[in-house]
């Protein structure tokens, strides 16, 4: 049953996931964390971290990992989890495969049509909103702790957030380098 749910969920995400991997994150999170409860926000954030650090598109990386984790968390064994990651990765790219072949075959001349262009023009600002939502949804106490619960971890987290933001936005430091540095800071300060 979970495999069918995974298939439908990731097929939907592949079909409506505008704006590339990052735009997809709020869709993936909405489904796997909030709708199905397959994993916690912290687990999802870890998956995003690993997906950013490893080669390949973030969308595919996180779909593979989410499929694995969802089945694993449901209490099934490693073989089942492997099947889960197969199903979710396949389901994610299937809409792409169908759509891109259809477009290549039939619609490539319509892609510059004013009606199609105005639909895309409407989507563009909404995708920005999707990305903003992905950020806001991850600002939870699981990821940052709270001043009440653990003030030390909370302020360290806020500092790491600001430092990483400024590091990429202003100083254009490589994101993978920043993740490694944040991990090192965690080891030193939050152990």
């Amino acid at each position: 049953m979970i495999f069918l749910q995974l298939f439908i969920t990731f097929f939907q995400i592949g079909l409506f996931g505008f704006g590339g991997g990052y735009g997809m994150l709020s869709l993936i999170q909405g489904e796997v964390v909030h709708h199905w409860g397959w994993m916690s926000t912290a687990e999802f954030t870890d998956i995003v971290a690993v997906s950013q650090m490893t080669p390949g598109p973030i969308g595919i990386n996180s779909a593979t990992y989410c499929g694995y984790t969802a089945v694993h968390n449901a209490g099934m064994g490693e073989t089942a989890a492997l099947l889960g990651s197969c199903v979710s990765t396949f389901a994610l790219v299937l809409p792409s495969l169908i759509l891109m072949i259809l477009i290549s075959k039939l619609f490539i001349k319509y892609m510059k049509h004013p009606t199609v262009q105005s639909v895309f023009a409407g989507l563009r600002p909404a995708v920005v909103g999707l990305l903003a939502a992905a950020t806001l949804l991850l600002c939870t106490k699981e990821n940052f702790s709270t001043p009440k619960e653990d003030a030390w971890q909370f302020w360290i987290s806020v500092f790491l957030f600001i430092a990483t933001f400024v590091g990429t936005k202003v100083f254009k430091i490589n994101p993978i380098k920043l993740i490694l540095m944040a991990g090192f800071a965690g080891l030193l300060l939050l152990y």
Binding site: Y22, T45, Q52, N61, V93, M100, I108, G129, Q153
Partner: protein, 177 residues
């Protein structure tokens, strides 16, 4: 056919930083080295692949595979792009589940999580800039984000509304130039 697979496998294997970081690498392989498509065609395909839903790198690889070898080509290039990701993540997933509760690993990830949130926040602003968001249009992303965040509205609904909104705006008020 094998060349198609191995080229996209290589692209999937050695590119860090997600879809958009792959563009120059795909271009070097597909346009400069193998001359499968011309530079102009490639730019057109990128524009379409970017506006369509789905993983960008998969979209562009399917386009090129289809152009060269029809449906079998599309399946081969798509597989080539996805397989390295799939295998690497699978290895990590199997490995990581054994160490997840280790206190050292847990503390490292406590540091990484806020950084990851920041790394998602940055492209939001970059995308806002390239999407040409102005004071007149900023209510769309802000409203959408708040609806998803505070009211639990499905992102899919926001996407559908935006597409319909774009269509109505283009058809009735002002055609897109």
């Amino acid at each position: 056919m094998f060349k198609l697979f191995s080229t996209f496998f290589k692209i999937g294997m050695f590119t860090l930083g997600g879809g958009y970081a792959m563009i120059p690498i795909i271009e070097a392989e597909v346009v400069d080295k193998h001359k499968w498509v011309t530079k102009e065609e490639f730019l057109d395909l990128i524009a379409i692949a970017q506006s369509c839903p789905g993983v960008f790198a998969a979209n562009i690889s399917i386009f090129i595979g289809y152009r060269l070898k029809k449906i079998p080509g599309a399946i081969i290039t798509c597989l080539g792009t996805c397989l390295p990701s799939f295998l690497i993540i699978l290895l990590i997933a199997m490995f990581f589940h054994r160490f997840q509760d280790n206190p050292v690993v847990a503390s490292i990830f406590r540091g990484i999580r806020p950084a990851v949130v920041a790394l998602i926040a940055v492209p939001t602003f970059n995308l806002a800039k390239s999407a040409g968001i102005t004071w007149a249009t900023c209510w769309i992303p802000i409203g959408g984000a708040l609806a998803i965040w505070l009211m639990g509205v499905s992102p899919i609904l926001i996407i559908l509304l935006a597409a319909i909104g774009g269509y109505i705006y283009g058809a009735l008020i002002k055609p897109t130039e």
